[in-house]
């Protein structure tokens, strides 16, 4: 079970993150999970003296999410990864790799979302 889980909205995200930094919390990572019904859950994990605090934000696909990399610089890698693998629209990144940090140009974009992909077979070899 996850301890200290708080549900917040996208607008409260930056305020809560600044408050955690002021209180001395350390940012661990952010997790993304596809709920299967057109919404995506983003969880942010913080830690202080081995006690965790987690925030959950639920967004629709395509909605804008502000980046926390101006507050915690170490979040820049995680947010780039979320943007590439899940297609979440994150704005104001401190360093933006433009969708090519992990994936190359020939691959499908947002491979971690649950979607139906149809492959057409052309006749002949």
């Amino acid at each position: 079970m996850i301890e200290n889980l708080v549900e917040i909205t996208v607008d409260q995200l930056l305020a809560e993150t600044s408050k955690s930094k002021y209180e001395g919390y350390r940012f661990i990572t952010a997790t993304c999970a596809d709920n299967g019904d057109d919404t995506i859950d983003i969880l942010y994990h913080f830690d202080k003296d081995y006690e965790m605090k987690n925030y959950r934000v639920t967004v629709k696909k395509g909605e804008e999410v502000p980046s926390i990399s101006k507050i915690f610089f170490c979040g820049v890698l995680v947010e780039n990864e979320m943007k590439e693998l899940f297609g979440i629209n994150i704005t104001n990144l401190a360093i933006d790799f433009g969708g090519h940090m992990l994936l190359s140009e020939e691959e499908l974009d947002s491979p971690m979302l649950r979607r139906q992909i149809t492959i057409e077979k052309r006749g002949g070899k």
């Binding site: 999970a33 170490c74 790799f97 491979p111």
Partner: protein
């Protein structure tokens, strides 16, 4: 007005165990800016775990990284056991600790050898890896394989250790301790080695806290953070303290990792003395119920976090892992500007980069 040149610290480099690309923007010999680029070993393992059973996932998760593979399996098994409310026997907890500490010794000895190779001291590299071979032989004899040992399963461990094997482990780690005392004076007191290590790549305590570093890098800058003191598995019954150094340069990180090998040897001896009798595995039936869980474990490189979400079927809905090198790379971007080109390979090695963990 000096002009800038851009030198690629390419994906292939003799010093790196895994491919990592860094663009160095330089003026004469000093580095002004460093931009990393990862993505050479991305295998998409998180998506693969959504298609396999939760029992087959143990084998996939172990193969995320070769050097820290036992702790990955341990964190995953602990997470599933908490989700399904399974209580594993005490003997299994101690066995997991013994294999985890042996793995930590092998990982730190590998790093010490690579460090010696990075500043050109090849015979020291060979000496340290000779001792590492003894640890690999123990792992092959007790668990079945040298590197990816597959000793953990859900509900306990797959094999047991007999009394003769435990006596043999004790004798072997005594030999390793004696050899290490000779090598220690070269790493810590030699004049030329100290010239390359002292005063380079300084990361102060405030910077380390701001960049959220974990593991031996944080402990070498003075932050006392070791997840083993929270007492998961059998660590609550063993008695040890985190190893800290206050300087924050390359020498401090070498010191911390060397002393942690001694600490692991001591932990294995304590665990073998205190191990209780009993079963080593409990049978597991059924599927994980709906819910989510977070489990954290201390790997040789720092703290790893596992997030598991299950929905009642035999496949997991989401498995997310964040490895310690992922958290240490931003501090590399802050440490490199201001240093010289000849120090760059050593600096990158001191964060202990495990790139295949970073981009599973």
């Amino acid at each position: 007005m000096s002009s800038t040149t851009v030198i690629p610290f390419g994906p292939q480099h003799p010093v790196l165990p895994e491919p990592l690309h860094i663009k160095l923007v330089m003026e004469d010999e000093n580095i002004v800016e460093a931009i990393p680029a990862i993505g050479y070993v991305h295998r998409g393992l998180e998506k693969l775990t959504e298609t396999k059973d939760f029992t087959q996932n143990v084998f996939i998760v172990e193969r995320v990284c070769g050097i820290c593979s036992v702790m990955h399996a341990m964190a995953y098994c602990q997470g599933i056991e908490e989700l399904m409310n399974i209580e594993i026997p005490d003997r299994a907890k101690f066995l997991r600790v013994i294999w985890a500490e042996l793995h930590r010794i092998h990982s730190h000895l590998l790093w010490l050898g690579l460090l010696a190779d990075a500043f050109g001291f090849e015979s020291l590299f060979m000496q340290v890896w000779r001792d590492r071979e003894k640890v690999m032989d123990i792992m092959e004899e007790t668990a079945g394989a040298r590197v990816v040992i597959s000793a953990n399963t859900i509900g306990g461990t797959r094999r047991d250790l007999s009394k003769e094997q435990m006596i043999k482990i004790n004798l072997t780690i005594d030999e390793i301790k004696k050899d290490l005392e000779q090598v220690e004076s070269v790493f810590l007191n030699n004049y030329t080695v100290k010239h390359r290590l002292v005063g380079r790549g300084i990361l102060t305590k405030a910077e380390a806290q701001e960049l959220c570093t974990v593991g031996p890098m944080a402990r070498a800058s003075g932050i006392s953070m070791d997840l083993r003191t929270t007492g998961y598995s059998a660590y609550g019954k063993l008695d040890f303290e985190p190893v800290i150094h206050n300087d924050g340069d390359n020498y401090a990180r070498t010191y911390v990792r060397l002393k942690e090998v001694y600490q692991s040897i001591d932990l294995i001896k304590q665990a073998i003395a205190k191990i209780p009798e009993g079963e080593h595995v409990v049978p597991v039936k059924g599927n994980p119920p709906k819910g989510e869980v977070i489990s954290r474990v201390e790997q040789p490189r720092g703290e790893v976090l596992y997030y598991l979400r299950a929905n009642g079927t035999k496949n997991l809905e989401r498995l997310r892992l964040r490895t310690p090198t992922f958290a240490n790379i931003p501090s590399l971007m802050k440490m490199l500007p201001g240093s010289q080109l000849a120090d760059v390979p050593l600096l990158i090695l001191t964060i202990d980069p495990c790139i295949s963990c970073t981009e599973r």
